[in-house]
Amino acid sequence: MANELLNVQGLETQFKTPEGIVHAVNGVSFTLNEGETMGVVGESGCGKSVTMLSCLRLIPQPPGKIVAGKALFKGQDLLAMSSEDIRHVRGAQIAMVFQDPMTSLNPVMTIGKQMEEPLKLHLGFTPQQARSRSIELLEQVGIPRAADRLKDYPHQYSGGMRQRVMIAMALACAPQILIADEPTTALDVTIQAQIVELVIRLREELGMAIIWITHDLGVVASIAHRVAVMYGGFIIEEAQIRDLYANPRHPYTIGLLGSLPQIQEQGRKRLYSIEGMPPMLYQKPHSCPFSPRCRWVTDRCRMENPLLEPVGENHRVACWVDTTTGRER
């Protein structure tokens, strides 16, 4: 068994809004092993980004607040360490890439300066060392004429190129974990393919573990080893990639996969659709958050929130109903 790198236990995060407290993450636990790529899938508002930002304590506080939980990175709790210590983890050992490359780079700072920052900060590079390393990194992510382009500002790069810069910057200090928060959502399909290929290549070269957050079940299928599906601030299903797509067990996962048109489809099949809307999370759900939309729903689902429990090898589901038989477990 591979070494455990990140172990999150019972993470809960809330946001204070004028309308009330939003329970964005309601007790999420997972582990990430060395060199492994974990996909985190869910719709907007399911808490997938907030979970990962909470691990690095990057949610704005206030209005956000991490209420409970641990995030053990190599045995040390990221949520309990001093703000000085977590700074040495951020960017050096756990790095992040964000959704929108247009807004994630500082518009009034040159690419070079932004690239050099983590190198100087975490590795103590001299300006010259940082510069030459930046050039190497940019070349590694496929930016032509890297040395010249260090002087440029973000607005002089295209969207795809900017995301490459973000990736280069994240990998500058050879982190053990790369958290990619919807890194391809804002990009066009062909550029998206470029970025996914790039990350797969870099993963092979550098061997870091990746957490890939997305709402696109297709993108995750092409890159992840293991997938966690989130809904209403919970992980509701978690499995090895092939297992999840072949044998989805949670009604939500089944619905999500069914609502996608199949690429091989010939005639016109009606799409499976999940009726209703995602929950609002103004209260911490005490029943299964998916129960109002679920076609297998039982009385128990409306009373008690199921816990994530194993249903097979490396396959865990939070559901009172065994969807293969349609009976309560």
């Binding site: 609502s259 690429i263 999940i274």
Partner: protein, 334 residues
Amino acid sequence: MTNDNAVLIKVEDLKMHFPIYRGVIRRQVGSVRAVDGVSFQIHSGETLGLVGESGCGKSTTGRTILQLYKPTAGKVFYEDVELTALHSEPMRMMRKNIQMIFQDPYASLNPRMTIRDIIAEPLVAFGTASGKEIDDRVRKLMGLVKLDPDFMLRYPHEFSGGQRQRIGIARAMANNPTFVVCDEPISALDVSIQAQVINLFEDLQKELNLTYLFIAHDLSMVRHISDRVAVMYLGIIVELADRNEIYANPVHPYTKALLSAIPVADPEFYETRKRIVLEGDVPSPVNPPSGCRFRTRCPIAEDFCAQSRPEFKEIAPGHFVECFKWDHPDNQRR
């Protein structure tokens, strides 16, 4: 599969260039060639999918067909009426038949109007209903798109994205149109909501015998809903064919790359197949490449591709391609 129904919409060499002004005296220094000569037909009762990446001109095409922009050149026909030649009042009357559904459900509803007023607006504009009839009709329309008619006095901000999109659809259906341009109607919605809306589109089409122009960047959804598919790149249509044909036998190198770049929700798929990854970015529509638009990123481009624009050629019944090397061995239909 060819469609024997009558042609409903005919687009001939449509061009839409947006001028760029610069300087103190606002001199025109160039133009964004958003749509640069596209031709196609849409048959009654079918769905034509229009796909491409952002900035390729697909939305502009849809809006220009609706005469929301005055096209730079080209003609658009609805049945026998040339829309591009109509003055504003006759064109307004045509809007009974031609409708549109917008991408952003948050921006396309006036925040100061109730749902009832929003849906009733086309009815009032054409005087198709009045007084109490309006309420009845609004209730029917809300039922049609599966919204609770009791919500009709609410305001848009009280609804979620998917519900708002249904309101937009109800508004478009108010005067029983025949042709609807759907401009990326699901791209702003959550995955689980997308299927709901797509199913609604299909139900409405069957029920009301609608013709759709379905614009999207999501190729798998387009394949699902369309009868025929047109692929756009940098202001032109590079390939147009029956949906099974284009997905099974893509000819244009761009279509191939685009299809291979679609994320497929099947991990096994990726164990067997490698995708074609295009190099570089889309050139600017202000200054498109000479000759073939795609040559700067094309894996099989040759020098002569830069010289003139290829013909939009029908290489098989109903299968059009704009490429010099359509009969290249790599490009052969299988």
